[in-house]
Symmetry: C2
Subunit: 138 residues, 2 copies
């Protein structure tokens, strides 16, 4: 199952064992930042637990409901930093979205068998809340 | 000024050249999470640029005005993840503060000569804004 000391195989399924967490985190990141959210979801475990600013999300469908609308609103992304080891990775990025520009985020993910089983995601909800308030009639 | 290939010296000043960014980031983190903010400030370059949620802060005094009040309100902290290389490090943590519990943050720092010269810090301002609003009379 290992293979960490060899170059990663090209063009193979991303869900095989033995891939480092950083590789999975970056594959997930690359997919959603290129608007391929369905491909991004292939890196998400069915029983993912995501600790988001508003609270914990349990399971891939709850995660999809949280992350999908954000990805649909994405107009720009830049990777700021990415580090990791076999099990854990941290990815920080900046984004522009339709409602909010300069909306950075940071994720710490735990990966098992090529799937993200836990994500802690940090971002500033305040400008999104302000944009919602501004869009509200009256 | 190098020395990256040697083990870090023990019990020496933290501001010498050649220390990895992660070591400096963690020394800074350890200092402020133990409420030793003046020691934390010894890892901050005079001309630091800090990209915070509300905008850029330029210089150590602006940084002190931003981070000092937060540190004074800290009641708990846990390190979630820390990774880095010679120049860049990412540190993610959770905190409780007097106004807000479960207030995580993520920092990506650039280090030069043992001092943090750039910091991108991400946290959720919304619960802090809500706490301020709730505390306001009327």
């Amino acid at each position: 199952m290992s293979g960490q000391d060899q170059p990663p195989p090209q063009d193979t399924a991303a869900t095989g064992g033995g891939r480092g967490a950083l590789e999975t985190a970056l594959a997930y990141h690359q997919a959603w930042t290129s608007h391929d959210f369905e491909r991004a979801m292939t890196y998400i475990a069915d029983d993912i637990v995501c600790q988001a600013p508003a609270g914990a999300l349990e399971g891939a469908e709850a995660f999809r409901g949280f992350m999908g609308p954000f990805v649909r609103s994405l107009t720009r992304s830049d990777l700021i930093a990415a580090f990791g080891d076999d099990q854990t990775a941290v990815v920080m990025y900046d984004t522009d979205t339709v409602p909010v520009s300069n909306a950075p985020g940071a994720e710490c993910v735990t990966v098992n068998d090529g799937k993200i089983i836990h994500m802690r995601i940090i971002f500033d909800r305040l400008p999104f809340e302000q944009a919602r308030r501004a869009a509200r009639p009256g």
